[in-house]
């Protein structure tokens, strides 16, 4: 037993650990810059400083890591269902015991600290999904099993949406990636991509051009495939469904979406929006990043950062501090670290002997990816404003711990793959 434990420790993927430490470290430096009192009078060790608090959160994460790595790898697979149920319960409990912080009932309050269970639910859902899909009985191609998998994913998301925190719920779309990897039909991928593309294009260019485009493509495809005997009906059905969808886009946009969502889309699409109110966040964030230039203004020298022009700069908009103070070189380094982290997780997942580990790996790569893309996309003004944090970077204990657990369970699972012959 001792020998296996040492063996496992030596098999930790140190590259992932180094990237993790680098991201957390860089993240803290930027939180320090974004939250330091410009008058410089406060004591470093005063816990009312956000950066001091974050340092404490980081220290606690390290304890958490030690704890996770010291557990048996099998523990996670064995207790996945329990963890999932507890997590769902914690989400439901919010409706009774939750504390409302800035409009969302997403927190449990313990004195001056508060916990956000949705940050932990991601890991729990990933474990549960991995457990269900890796079951020898489960067939991803069966509709019933697909539906059950969908329930596992949708349950926490449905608990999170009414908090309200639709941004965090959006992250659950990430579980499409492990499902697809395990054999989910490509139809879902195609349908999903086309739907999103049609929606965005219709908003950007108006329905007339898009319908004309659909008709054109349909005619071309029909002519090219006129000798085909089967499947011809799709050439009629698909365009008609698409056109109906395009026609309903405006209705959905105007009636299902709320005004603030519409505004966020309009900001990104470059429609005429008042940059002083609705587009303010995005605009200030773009100014801060653009201000950085090639090498940035330097640590603690960012004028936008110091002036607190970017709201929520230490949380969701922390990347704008990187952009302003460390410039193109600094922000590219951060992007490289994230891309490296995710690619490494995917590569390792593919190497897993156990299907459970692979599915889990794909799940967390997907989750990290959605956070990464949506957050940095938002901060650089190419995505609509969606309030989700940048993993390991943004200020907040729950978020940091949630992502730490997410990642280190995978590191633990990965370290164990030699034992799973």
């Amino acid at each position: 037993m001792r020998s296996t434990a040492r063996n496992a420790r030596n098999n930790f993927d140190w590259l992932l650990i180094v990237i993790y430490l680098a991201l957390v470290g860089i993240g803290w430096v930027n939180i320090y810059s974004a939250s330091i009192d410009p008058s410089g009078v406060s004591n470093f060790f005063d816990l009312s400083n956000l950066y001091t608090k974050q340092l404490l959160f980081i220290a606690l994460s390290l304890l958490l890591i030690v704890f996770i790595l010291s557990l048996e790898a099998k523990f996670f697979e064995r207790f996945a269902s329990v963890i999932y149920v507890v997590s769902i319960a914690s989400l439901l409990g919010l409706f009774v015991f939750g504390k409302n912080i800035s409009g969302a009932t997403s927190w449990y309050a313990f004195g001056s600290f508060s916990l956000q269970p949705s940050e932990f639910a991601k890991a729990a859902t990933a474990l549960a999904l991995a457990k269900y899909l890796s079951d020898i009985q489960t067939d991803v191609k069966s509709f019933t099993h697909q539906f059950r998998a969908f329930i596992i994913i949708a349950l926490p998301a449905l608990c999170i949406v009414p908090q309200p925190d639709p941004g965090s719920a959006l992250v659950y779309a990430a579980f499409f990636f492990p499902l697809y990897r395990e054999g989910l039909s490509g139809i879902y991928l195609i349908t999903g991509s086309i739907t999103i593309a049609l929606f965005v294009l219709t908003l950007a260019f108006g329905p007339v051009y898009i319908i004309a485009g659909i008709v054109l493509i349909a005619i071309i495809l029909l002519i090219k495939n006129r000798k085909k005997r089967f499947g011809k009906r799709y050439f009629y059905i698909l365009p008609i469904v698409s056109i109906l969808f395009v026609l309903s886009v405006n209705y959905i946009f105007q009636n299902v979406f709320e005004q603030r969502h519409r505004d966020r889309f309009n900001v990104v699409l470059g429609k005429d929006v008042d940059m002083k109110s609705i587009g303010y966040n995005t605009y200030q964030s773009e100014i801060a990043i653009g201000n950085g230039g090639l090498t940035g203004k330097g640590f603690l020298k960012g004028t936008q950062t110091k002036g607190n022009f970017v709201p929520e700069q230490h949380t969701d908009y922390i990347f704008s501090t990187v952009g302003e103070e460390w410039g193109f070189l600094g922000s590219t380094l951060v992007i490289l670290l994230f891309v490296g982290l995710m690619l490494r997780i995917i590569i390792l997942s593919e190497r897993q002997k156990s299907q459970f580990s692979r599915i889990y790996g794909y799940s967390i790569a997907g989750i990290l990816f959605i956070h990464f893309l949506v957050n940095i996309g938002m901060v650089t003004g190419v995505f609509p404003t969606v309030g989700i944090p940048l993993p390991f970077f943004s200020y907040g204990g729950s978020g940091l711990w949630g992502f730490t657990i997410l990642l280190f369970i995978f590191i633990k699972l990965d370290s164990n793959r030699v034992n799973e012959w």
């Binding site: 653009g290 002036g307 952009g323």
Partner: protein, 638 residues
């Protein structure tokens, strides 16, 4: 496909986001300036503008504090408008209108409610200001004129316009800048350099401390004081003498080139262009197209020089060695030339005359002869013309003088090119007689008063001059003025050739045309001038009453002052110009006026009636000085 989907999406997203960053941070540079605009505030510290003194150290221009009532609209709390309007002496409607305008401009930035309160208004208001939140008083510095004359060369300062700001990044909207005169020419010396503090702002536009710990901040450099060459007493006296006349007086100290007086009439009080009424006063001055008070006649008016120009022709003839000073020429009430008996008229005087009495009596025939000899000395009239032109150019004529004042005109001295073009040479030929008017300072030549004063100073110096200038010292240092005002310019005429001309000018004063303005105890050398001049009325060329011109320097040896006086339509040289010049000389040399009869005559005579003639729309006689005395009757009665 299943294995590489997420892998490729991650990779592509990474590249796309990097591309977006590249665009924001490297390609699009507009964001950097946006940030400076919203995150860093500059606060300027304006130094005191330098004072201006006259040559004897008496203060001409200093600064006065002025107070603007400012408002920051969003900080205004409800207040007692009736009381406040009472304090500011404005109506409630006007106040509401101002506040609305300020709010439209910016709710967070200060706007002016009432500009330029006086010291006493400020003292009264200061106590009560605390009660009105959002309002405060900002101090500014304005010019304070200690004298009510000299506006033409002192110049004025005004807020910079868009062109100034684009021209020179030093200036910001609202800064003041010298617009004319010394204020403009010595702008950078008088102004100093403003200091700047960079303040980091937060998103509420509040100050949150010095940007980069103040390492970029600069302290203001105070403006330097100027000492002018102007003699304030003489300047003031000159302006008094020129009341109700139009024209210019330029007095120069020959030994230094320093301008002692630079009078342009009519003039205005420099204080008109300061304070709350500035804009209205400026409009009035600017649109006075009849008297043109903003036109500096001393520097800018190009007049036919008339007879004083004969001294130059005499100098050129001597230098070209075409005449002996003893040689006499006959005059039969004029000079006859050409085959058809054309005549250049003259007045009655003894005949024949040699050079000295020729100058003293201002004989036209004498100078017509001498001038022709100069032009005809060479094979072609073109060559002769250019030699003549080049001699005059060495006096600084026909070109900008290069004074240290921002305005000026070159005047005109014709050369062979000019006549070739005018007579379509070589299609038609021209000879010296075609240009004969130049011999007596009429025709094509024109000079500004300062040019003529400088010619006089050059004659006084017997051959050299310093470029006339108005600044004597900068911050008490004479060597700080530009090198060119400390360098002698020599003319092409040898010193010995000046003596007969000086004698002639002495003769004019002692027994010739200027004998009427003699002042006991001062040996003056002078020359009268009576210049024909024309204007256009309804497109028709119309001759006006002659200009009265006088040049003089005194004393004959070691001259202290050289002066040129132009009085527009002043009949003849001795009538206005001679009297004014002799009074100015007496004032400068003796410090007091002994010929009070002369002074009284000038002070009680006006040319306004003469100036009104061409505007009357009716036909009018010219040069009828005997009929119109120009005496101001009302003044005598009172």
């Amino acid at each position: 496909m299943r294995k590489i989907l997420l892998f490729s999406i991650v990779l592509i997203s990474g590249i796309l986001l990097t591309g977006r960053l590249f665009y924001l941070q490297i390609l699009d540079t507009s964001y950097a300036s946006l940030s400076v605009n919203n995150a860093i505030k500059r606060i300027y510290d304006y130094p005191q503008r330098g004072h201006i003194y006259d040559r004897n150290g008496s203060l001409l221009v200093s600064n006065q504090p002025s107070y603007d009532v400012m408002v920051i609209p969003r900080e205004v709390k409800p207040f007692d408008t009736t009381e406040f309007c009472g304090l500011l002496k404005m109506t409630k409607e006007a106040l509401v209108k101002r506040l609305d305008k300020a709010r439209v401009y910016s709710p967070r930035l200060p706007s002016i409610v009432i500009p330029q309160l006086t010291k006493s208004e400020y003292a009264y208001l200061q106590e009560k200001m605390r009660k009105y939140e959002g309002f405060y008083i900002q101090k500014r510095s304005l010019r304070d004129y200690q004298v009510d004359y000299g506006a033409n060369f002192l110049g004025y300062i005004a807020e910079v316009n868009r062109a100034d700001i684009e021209d020179n990044p030093y200036y910001q909207s609202g800064d003041l800048k010298g617009r004319t005169g010394v204020e403009r020419q010595y702008e950078e010396i008088l102004r100093g350099v403003k200091g700047v503090k960079y303040i980091q702002k937060d998103r509420f536009n509040r100050d949150i401390g010095a940007y980069k710990n103040g390492s970029l901040d600069t302290i203001p450099k105070p403006g330097k004081d100027l000492t002018l060459t102007i003699d304030a007493e003489l300047q003031k006296y000159g302006e008094e003498l020129m009341v109700n006349k139009r024209g210019g007086i330029v007095a120069i100290e020959p030994s230094t080139g320093e301008i002692l007086a630079l009078v342009s009439a009519p003039n205005f009080d420099p204080a008109l262009l300061v304070g709350r009424e500035r804009s209205r006063n400026f409009t009035n001055l600017y649109y006075d197209s009849i008297a043109k008070p903003l036109f500096d006649r001393g520097l800018q008016a190009q007049y036919p020089p008339g007879s004083p120009f004969k001294t130059l022709n005499a100098l050129i003839a001597l230098q070209e060695d075409v005449v002996d000073p003893q040689e006499s020429f006959a005059c039969h009430m004029g000079y006859y030339y050409g085959s058809r008996g054309r005549k250049l008229g003259c007045h009655s005087h003894p005949s024949p005359l040699s050079m000295v009495p020729g100058i003293a009596n201002s004989c036209n025939a004498y100078f017509a002869n001498v001038y022709r000899r100069v032009i005809e000395k060479y094979d072609t009239p073109q060559e002769g013309m250019d030699v003549w032109h080049n001699h005059l150019a060495s006096f600084g004529l026909g070109q900008y003088m290069g004074t240290d004042l921002p305005t000026g005109r070159p005047g005109y001295i014709p050369d062979s090119d000019y006549y070739n073009r005018a007579y379509e040479y070589p299609k038609y030929k021209w000879f010296s007689t075609a240009t004969i008017s130049n011999s007596i300072g009429q025709g094509e030549v024109s000079l500004t008063p300062i040019q003529l004063a400088n010619v006089t100073a050059t004659i006084a110096n017997r051959g050299w001059f310093y470029t006339p200038h108005i600044v004597k010292d900068i911050e008490g240092e004479h060597d700080a003025i530009p090198e060119k005002y400390r360098t002698k310019n020599y003319t092409t005429i040898d010193a010995k050739n000046y003596e007969p001309v000086v004698e002639g000018m002495s003769g004019a004063y002692n027994y010739g045309t200027a004998a009427g303005v003699q002042i006991p105890g001062i040996e003056i050398c002078g020359k009268t001038g009576t210049a024909e001049n024309y204007t256009k009325i309804d497109g028709k060329r119309q001759q006006l009453t002659d200009h009265s011109i006088f040049v003089a320097f005194a004393p004959k040896d070691n001259p202290k002052i050289a002066i040129a006086v132009f009085v527009e339509n002043g009949y003849w040289g001795g009538r206005y110009g001679g009297k004014i010049a002799s009074l100015m000389i007496e004032k400068h040399i003796k410090g007091e006026i002994t010929r009070t009869d002369l002074e009284d005559w000038i002070l009680t005579h006006s040319l306004e009636e003469e100036y009104a003639k061409p505007l009357s729309g009716k036909p009018f006689p010219i040069n009828d000085g005997k009929k119109i005395s120009g005496k101001i009757e009302e003044k005598l009665k009172s």
